[in-house]
């Protein structure tokens, strides 16, 4: 037993150096070559950082495309989902409230045109994306608020839509932060 223990201690020491020191140090050096230098890619307006490209943020004002509901209020110091089951009556009330709020702010939209993603919380609470349908259902509201034609807004969404991987794998998506940044730039 003693023989095994001594070997174990030495082996643990040498593996700690290899796996917990050299491995992450090497990868942080590689990180310097990536966009954002391994710190995460940011989005700026006039040189001022307004967000991280991959981290969603809260948009609730009528002039912006709204992001999805979040269980952590889009504070990326934490993360997580609601963990609510759809058999939970209290949860269904919350969803009903979100639907009502959406209809108040988007009076021209019918309930059955609202995609579920706009009234359900994401897994991380930081979902940066919407489906193209989730953005387009908001076009009428933004057109009215900003006095921009609906066509222009629909074109903007199409431009900002990221196609499925290689055009064939996975869903299409629109990054809400980038969409709203370009929206503010439109005149």
């Amino acid at each position: 037993m003693k023989k095994y223990l001594l070997t174990s201690i030495k082996l643990t020491a040498v593996l700690l150096v290899l796996l917990a020191v050299l491995y992450p140090l090497f990868l942080s050096a590689v990180g310097k070559l990536a966009r954002g230098k391994g710190n995460g890619e940011t989005v700026s307006i006039n040189g001022k950082v307004v967000g991280y490209a991959n981290i969603g943020q809260k948009f609730t004002q009528d002039k912006y495309f709204w992001s999805r509901p979040s269980a952590v209020n889009y504070d990326a110091a934490g993360s997580g989902g609601s963990n609510k089951a759809t058999s939970n009556p209290e949860y269904l009330k919350t969803v009903q409230d979100r639907i009502d709020t959406f209809l108040v702010h988007n009076p021209e939209i019918r309930k059955e045109d609202i995609p579920a993603e706009l009234v359900t919380a994401s897994g991380s609470g930081l979902d940066p994306d919407l489906s193209p349908a989730g953005a387009k259902v908001q076009v009428k509201r933004i057109a009215a608020t900003r006095h921009i034609s609906e066509d222009k807004l629909n074109n903007l969404i199409d431009e900002q839509t990221v196609k499925p991987l290689l055009g064939v794998f996975g869903p299409a998506k629109v990054n809400v932060l980038k969409l709203n940044v370009t929206l503010d730039e439109m005149k």
Binding site: Y4, S28, A77, S131, L165, G170, P171
Partner: protein, 572 residues
């Protein structure tokens, strides 16, 4: 075909296509043949010399297990104390506090046993030092422990009669230097160039476009996420695990993470076929495991893509399917696929919140973990399947009235007793644990624990029971995923699942290694006309029947109280 389904199908196909050459490579590594990675020779030689290891020294099954268990116990003590004092150690830019003793106990065991159940959130519960020196380190070595145990069993199966399971140290070290480390580096580099953070900068604070001030947690994430999947560990850097956009930035990284967690368990099957020179045996097992996985996958994907009936009743549309707890960039199809892959294999990372899955999906996820042998975790999946094989051999022997044999060795009372005990252990731990938890919720709701039992459950009724059942199932399977609404950071859950974790890890490793060692020592009986052919399709189906019967008998009543009742009520 729609792009979401196409993504899932191509991900599985790529996984199998990569597992074939990887299996060939792994077989060569352990047979000591020349491989691409021979440049690691000097590193290994240095490690052997530094640690005083003679890599040629043969070990019998008892010595093999002694070495394995000694180093694992050392890691447990080391990890516990490091977590307990992490606030006083360096590399803590966010100023996170120490873990409480019961949480440190749970966390240390959880990562040691390749489970990665987390009763803390990565953003606030650990420091960069413990993320690297405890979490990442244990993710490497626990995966290597599982693979080494399996290779020991391969060595026993390979020879007609032998006492030698190989040298544990050598197999273990080579698993890291030849398999886990090189592949992890490649995967991590792909992650880094897809937007995953990899620096030591601490939490950032930003003001958003609407003027909210929020934090953004970061860190050397990419390397950990690589081994987290490759080693079928599953513990997340962030609380939301691989649903977090910095831990899984896009569909492509999602595919890589899925492939990484599935590839070694499948490759080990192909490696086994080559290494013990029984290719057909390996192919039949691969076929049975794949059929089993598909039986769980299809209902899950159908129910996720169809969406929630309760949400439909509210009148909104569900164009892609159920979206609560899911990310837009993955969608319900890839999330459903992930939830089954991560539970049949003992990864336990998630890209959607399983607590919000449809009841049928929750049922399939739990079944995946209860069976725990459709591919299964790094090394241990095949060890679990081996136990089912022993029982199938035994029952087949009874049916035809002959002493059962496995690969030329008589399977006798001692081996069958070990296999039966290992099988019964799971049912005992899962149902005993869930019953105890339910008792506290029902009768002692106001116990003065960090989270009172009355506040444990995040959902009422059947689903609330499922949250407790899932937690013990996950702990027993060394899986690590959860119905995360459960209030689990308190002494009851930390201690009870801690014990379940350690028992459910080491007994199912000790059992198969002991059986293999005992069998290999016996006299070799040449095949005759009356020999049961263990590489036949018939025997494969026999094993499948054993798996289904054992698990149905063990778990149907418990599942009926949880996800089955919830699904039936939802259908009305």
């Amino acid at each position: 075909m729609n792009t979401e389904l196409a993504g899932v199908i191509v991900t599985f196909i790529i996984t199998v296509l990569l597992a074939i050459p990887l299996g060939r490579y792994i077989a060569k590594v352990f047979a000591g043949e020349r491989t691409l990675t021979d440049f690691m020779n000097p590193v290994e030689k240095f490690i052997y010399r530094f640690c005083g290891i003679d890599p040629q020294k043969e070990m019998n099954w008892k010595e093999f297990l002694k070495a394995l268990l000694t180093i694992n116990m050392l890691w447990l003590v080391y990890a516990f104390f490091t977590l307990l004092f992490q606030d006083k150690l360096p590399l803590n830019p966010d100023g996170n506090p120490a873990q409480t003793p019961d949480l440190a106990f749970n966390t240390a065991i959880s990562f040691l046993v390749n489970c990665d159940l987390q009763h803390y959130s990565g953003e606030s519960g650990v420091t960069y030092l413990t993320q690297l020196f405890v979490v990442t380190f244990l993710q490497f070595v626990s995966a290597a422990t599982g693979i080494a145990a399996l290779v020991g069993v391969f060595n026993a199966l390979k020879e007609k009669t032998t006492n030698n399971l190989g040298n544990f140290w050598q197999i273990f070290i080579k698993t890291i230097t030849r398999i886990l480390l090189p592949i992890s580096i490649v995967i991590a580099i792909i992650f880094i160039f897809n937007g995953m953070p990899s620096s030591f900068a601490g939490k950032d604070t930003i003001v958003t476009m609407q003027g909210d001030t929020v934090g953004v947690s970061r860190g050397p994430v990419a390397g950990m996420v690589a081994i987290k999947h490759l080693g079928t560990n599953g513990g997340g850097w962030f609380g939301a695990n691989s649903a977090h956009p910095l831990e899984n930035p896009n569909y492509f990284t999602g595919m890589i993470e899925l492939i990484a967690q599935t590839v070694i368990p499948i490759a080990m099957l192909f490696a086994m076929g080559l290494y013990i020179k029984r290719k057909k045996f390996a192919y039949v097992i691969f076929g049975i495991m794949t059929i089993g996985m598909l039986c769980l996958l299809v209902p899950t994907m159908v129910s996720e893509i169809s969406g929630s009936p309760a949400i439909s009743k509210l009148g909104v549309s569900q164009p892609t399917g159920a979206m609560e707890g899911k990310e837009v960039r993955f969608g319900p199809a890839a999330s459903g696929y992930w939830s089954i892959i991560t539970t049949v294999i003992s990864t336990g990372s998630v890209n959607s919140m399983h607590d919000s899955s449809m009841p049928v999906s929750g049922l399939m996820q739990m079944l995946g973990m209860m069976i725990n042998a459709f591919y299964g975790g790094c090394g241990v999946g095949i060890l679990n399947y081996y136990i089912y094989i022993i029982i199938a051999v035994f029952i087949s022997g009874l049916m035809v009235g002959r002493t059962p044999e496995l690969m030329g060795h008589k399977v006798e009372a001692r081996e069958v007793k070990i296999a039966a005990l290992v099988t019964l252990l799971s049912a005992f731990l899962i149902k005993g644990g869930a019953a105890l938890a339910a008792y506290f919720v029902a009768h002692h709701g106001d116990m003065a624990w960090a989270v009172k039992p009355s506040a444990w459950l995040n959902n009422p009724s059947y689903h609330g029971f499922s949250e407790m059942l899932y937690e013990f199932t996950s702990a027993n399977a060394n899986n690590g995923s959860g119905f995360e609404g459960l209030g689990d950071n308190n002494i009851f859950w930390n201690v009870s699942t801690g014990f379940v974790l350690i028992l459910a890890r080491f007994l199912p490793i000790i059992g198969p290694v002991a059986i293999a060692g005992l069998l290999a020592k016996k006299k070799f009986v040449p095949e005759s006309a009356g020999t049961l052919k263990t590489d036949s399709l018939t025997f494969g189906m026999m094993t499948m029947a054993v798996i289904l019967i054992i698990n149905a008998l063990s778990y149907f009543p418990a599942l009926a109280l949880g996800p089955i009742a919830e699904a039936l009520r939802g259908a009305n």
